[in-house]
């Protein structure tokens, strides 16, 4: 490699630190999507009969559906028959403890800043680490069990807690919900399962780290969180993938169930590989996330920081079924180069006196396109329900776009919906002001953007707020000028 290529490589690595590949033997199913493949995945996971049937039903449904075309996205066709739907590091038996996990995998997560070793664990944060199609380990399981909390991989939950899984799986996002949810239901591989018993405050932060490693695969994660009455949990997910010229598909489904007075706080720092500066490569991120405030006084908070992926299609939503239940959505979406994001939320007010709050911050740079799309629906029964929405867009440079698509449907005259939106270009006067005080141009941009995102960052758990801020700064490098 010549000196300059090396320097360029180094520079790119700096921008996307998670872009490396782990050379590891993997067991994968042949490429393609059919009943046989689905049965193979189900067999590999030793699943009960009902689950295979559920998958096949979803697959039948998916075949009848067409992909979404309403988003403000340029969607290249995806060849679903070219994808390998299951890839997992080879291992004789499933490791019984983290000590038995392949050191190469531990090293990978180490490098990503998610140490799984006993002695180096993130203090106060339990981690489930998912590598391609399988979970390689979950920390602090014992400690959590003592508090009555279940936190394990989805596959493990199917084996250990089949009744709970069966009761709640698909109860928030049915297998027929939409094209990508149906696909996920047919081929999902791993993800996390969380169960918080009645009146329990989860003693630590829970988090799942999703890593795509293998080529020509997709990741189809499934996460389910159930919070019994009076319980509280804060959960965070992070995700990264190697840099490749080919696009890879990530289609996840996340379901949250909050019962009476329960509070689920779900935060995401999404840093999938975004593609290069010409828009080549990157992850297609098609995700269905939905929370059900099933009973009275329950509360669900979504916070997301989206900086990665070539395409993001994601609308974490709340169904406010219980009376006085409340939903919140805090989002920062940053796009640069040729990234496209169409993201937002849905707040479906069904119960009386339900409240929702939406704070969405979009930052566009380069040639990217960033759209907020949100639905606020006040059902006839939603007496005195209230929503407040604030969408702010910040443009950096002249080639990018910011769009806002708010949908408001009110069927109850006592319901109140407020919507505020602003779009601004990063101010030349702000930049000059910062620079005249001694801050370099990139530091000045980072500072201004950080201020713009403040309301969202303060919703993240502290460690992750710092991480999100740093991620934004790295993503913004070279975005100006």
């Amino acid at each position: 490699m010549s000196q300059t290529t090396e320097q360029v490589q180094e520079y790119i690595q700096q921008r996307y630190k998670a872009g490396f590949y782990t050379d590891i033997d993997e067991d994968r199913v042949p490429a393609g999507l059919n009943e046989e493949i689905i049965a193979m995945i189900s067999a590999k996971k030793n699943e009960p009969e009902w689950l295979l049937e559920w998958r096949l039903k979803a697959f039948q449904q998916w075949k009848k559906m067409v992909g979404p075309n309403w988003a403000h996205l340029k969607l290249p066709p995806i060849d679903f028959q070219k994808i390998h739907y299951y890839a997992a590091p080879k291992q004789e038996n499933r490791p019984k403890s983290l000590d038995e996990v392949d050191p190469k995998l531990l090293e990978t997560f180490d490098k990503l800043g998610v140490p799984l070793h006993e002695r180096e664990r993130l203090a106060g944060v339990a981690v489930d680490a998912v590598f391609d199609s399988v979970s390689v380990g979950t920390t602090f399981q014992k400690e959590l069990k003592e508090a009555g909390v279940i936190f394990c991989s989805f596959s493990e939950a199917v084996q250990e807690y089949p009744d709970l899984v069966r009761e709640y799986l698909g109860s928030v996002v049915p297998h027929t919900d939409n094209y990508f949810a149906a696909l996920n239901s047919a081929v999902f591989t791993d993800g996390s399962f969380v169960y918080i018993p009645k009146d329990t405050r989860c003693p630590m932060e829970l988090s799942t780290y999703f890593r795509i490693n293998a080529r020509d695969t997709g990741q189809f994660e499934r996460t389910l969180i159930v919070a019994e009455p009076g319980s509280h949990v804060s959960y965070l997910e992070g995700c990264t993938a190697p840099m490749r010229d080919e696009n890879q598909l990530h289609a996840a489904v996340v379901e949250l169930v909050a019962k009476e007075r329960a509070h689920i706080k779900y935060s995401t720092v999404q840093n999938w590989y975004p593609g290069d500066e010409n828009g080549k490569g990157g992850i297609y991120n098609f995700v269905t996330k939905r929370g059900d405030c099933r009973e009275d006084d329950s509360r669900i908070t979504w916070t997301q920081v989206e900086t990665g992926s070539a395409i993001t299609w994601k609308y974490p939503s709340c169904i406010l079924r219980g009376d006085r239940s409340s939903g919140e959505f805090y989002s920062v979406a940053l796009t640069r180069n040729y990234q496209q994001a169409d993201t937002g939320t849905k707040m479906i007010h069904l119960g009386k006196n339900t409240t929702s709050k939406i704070i969405a911050k979009g930052i566009s740079a380069g040639h990217s396109n960033n759209s907020y799309r949100g639905l606020v629906r006040m059902a006839p029964r939603a007496e005195s329900a209230r929503n407040y929405t604030q969408c702010d867009s910040l443009l950096i440079g002249k080639q990018c776009g910011a769009h806002t698509f708010p949908y408001i449907e009110s069927f109850n005259p006592t319901a109140k919906v407020e919507h505020e939106a602003t779009t601004s270009r990063i101010g030349e006067d702000q930049l000059f002001y910062c620079r005249s005080r001694g801050l370099g141009e990139e530091d000045a941009v980072a500072l201004i953007v950080d201020g713009f995102c403040k309301e969202v960052f303060k919703e993240l758990p502290m460690e992750f707020a710092v991480e999100a801020k740093a991620l934004l700064e790295i993503s913004l490098e070279g975005a100006v000028g």
């Binding site: 702000q430 002001y433 005249s436 001694g438 201020g451």
Partner: protein, 251 residues
């Protein structure tokens, strides 16, 4: 300290400064007065390096260095400070954090040790107190929701913390009531020392009553048309700018 030599500056091809000459020695305070549209603010901006203010001829030398070759942040690190006529709001960015980042960026550029938050807070609280500003200001966003007077006083706080070698104050007195004007003047006087110089750009004489300038210059039509001592400012206050402009036109 500062030597401005035959300075011509254009904005969008339109010439605003047309051969301005000015020298400021160490420890001196110079007042630049002039009617509206004479190029006063342009002078401030071009000193600080604002984009779009093109030097077409002449030079600005600051401690022997040509400012035209330097980015705004490098000028700041070299010891130049501009108090803005209209300080800019930066929503969501905490005032204390902003100021400390700026100070440390300057220190880093100069190869000095960065200041820790305890020491920083102590000095900044002191400055706030002297300008009769509330501590809560530190937690508020930069200039956001500040009154006009607060914004101007905040510029003086920044100046006190950043300790520049040369401070350019662009109409810092405009929009201030009498009490605030006094506080601002005191803030400036407190910082005066034999090494630090000031360029005070103002429309009125009232700030100068509290400052005792070493030299007063009248800027008109993009040039300095008259220089003198403190008495020149007083005469301008009495007679207005028109008599000077008339003289200049005759000459």
């Amino acid at each position: 300290m500062l030597r401005i030599n035959n300075l011509h500056v254009s904005i969008d091809g339109k010439e605003i400064l047309k051969g301005l000459n000015l020298e400021i020695g160490a420890g001196e305070l110079h007042a630049i007065m002039g009617p509206n549209g004479s190029g006063k603010s342009t002078l401030g901006y071009v000193m600080a390096g604002r984009e779009g203010y093109d030097i077409t001829e002449g030079s600005i030398e600051f401690e022997g260095k040509d400012l035209n070759d330097m980015e705004p942040e490098d000028r700041a690190a070299a010891g130049l400070f501009l108090a803005f006529q209209y300080p800019v709001e930066i929503p969501g960015v905490n005032n204390a954090y902003f100021l400390r980042s700026a100070l440390n960026a300057q220190k880093k550029a100069r190869g000095e040790e960065e200041v820790d938050s305890m020491t920083f807070l102590k000095t900044v609280r002191e400055s706030l107190g002297q300008l009769k500003m509330d501590d809560t200001l530190l937690k508020r966003a930069v200039n956001e929701g500040f009154s006009g007077g607060e914004k101007k006083r905040n510029e003086i706080v920044q100046m006190a913390i950043l300790q520049p070698k040369l401070a350019v104050l662009d109409e810092t007195d405009s929009g201030l009531d009498i009490d605030a004007l006094k506080l601002v003047a005191e803030g400036i006087n407190r910082l005066r020392n034999p090494e630090r110089s000031f360029m005070v750009i103002t429309h009125y004489q009232r700030l100068l009553e509290h400052l005792t300038p070493d030299h007063v210059h009248v800027l008109s039509g993009g040039r300095i048309i008259e220089s003198g001592g403190k008495e020149l400012a007083e005469r301008l206050e009495r007679e207005g700018y028109s008599y000077l402009q008339a003289e200049a036109a005759e000459a």
